[in-house]
Symmetry: C2
Subunit: 233 residues, 2 copies
Amino acid sequence: MRPMSLPVGLPAIADSDLVGQIARILMQAIVQGRLPPGSKVVEAGIARELGVSRAPVREAARLLEKQGLLVASPRRGFFVRKLEIRNIDEIYDLRLCIERHASVLAARRLTPESRDMLRRQIDVLHRTADLDDPARQVEEDYRFHRLIFEIADNRRLLRLFDDLAAELRMVIGLIGRLYDDPHEIARTHEPLLAAIETGHPERITAHVDYHIGHAWREVGKLARACAAGRHYR
Amino acid sequence: MRPMSLPVGLPAIADSDLVGQIARILMQAIVQGRLPPGSKVVEAGIARELGVSRAPVREAARLLEKQGLLVASPRRGFFVRKLEIRNIDEIYDLRLCIERHASVLAARRLTPESRDMLRRQIDVLHRTADLDDPARQVEEDYRFHRLIFEIADNRRLLRLFDDLAAELRMVIGLIGRLYDDPHEIARTHEPLLAAIETGHPERITAHVDYHIGHAWREVGKLARACAAGRHYR
DNA sequence: CAAGATTAAACTGTCGACAATCGACGATTA
DNA sequence: TAATCGTCGATTGTCGACAGTTTAATCTTG
């Protein structure tokens, strides 16, 4: 009965959901660096290239706009969002805010089953660390945090997190590899889960602050370096 | 060097923004109770009635979907979101979460000017209380809280607040009058501002909790009564 | 008479077309 | 020479149309 936590990313059975497919294609193009930040997304061009009309392309663009990957300028079209430090800071600021909240909620609603799901996901993180597949690592990391939001049981909070995560994926995709030691990514989740298990709000928020704050600093550092090095024409 | 565009606040040439106009019309229709919760929004019907084509109606609907007033069901169309208690609780839960955060941020960034803006808005609230215009009262209340988010200076946070507020407006519109004593609405803002002026995070969050929590309980109570009394066919 | 099958109407998803608007480029003028 | 104006191509906003799907209505059939 429950949506069964669709992994937003890759497999993506192509139903007759044309808009969704186009959105995914565009998203990939953005993350992979074609369609560089700041570039214009011409509806007719995309449509011609994909062999469809402008209508579904337009809707897909609106979808990506909602997720923050594109920005719309009336009568001028859609543009790939630039990689601004300010924007990244705003994303992480908001993420920190809602993840603190979600973690406290999750602790309050924690059951033995949900606790095990979190623990298993940490195991997955450890196993994934050996694969040397950064994209997969980011994906599994995302799943862990998404689990927290699912347990918190506020659909709106979950949707918001998904949107933020989508945008972060773009950022991380543009930046490239995130962690040097993929095992560290797994290890750092354990004290977080431990804190949640205690149920103490202050301890939980402190750990979330540390965990997310760490990612914030890392991504910020890389983004700054990236922005300084790369020049968009 | 500088073109020196006239700083005169030109009223921003009346929208040729068809989509925005349609969105506003639909929003009014929803709040006023035509288009009752759960009812279907037929694109062609709206389009015919307004003398436009389906394209802009569709986009307007997507806009209202993003704001949470409508829900989209693939290949079935748009429906006016039902007034579920769960949904209201989720909205207020999220609002409480981000308003705590925004208030602490605002306190950190508070300047004499921004402090005065908040104070003046409280005065406006007092003056509005005499007018016996509930809609206006809600609007000015919204303005005060929006100011806090503006001062917090996180565009994403602000946009999120605007979306939540839009949905709350619908809820409140459906429920009807909110406060019996409109002056109370103004008074309760003063200790909140005072707390922000102190700059103590714990004191601020405590006051936000009280302030928003109060509204949450009020709205929840009325919504429950409303949902119990009214039956949608 | 009720439940399932069948058909018709209504509606969404998608398409191609056209006019209004934007941005770039070059002409004009001081 | 620099700034402004007009022109032209490119692109978005909007439109009406059509096909496939969903919903409602009607017709079976046990």
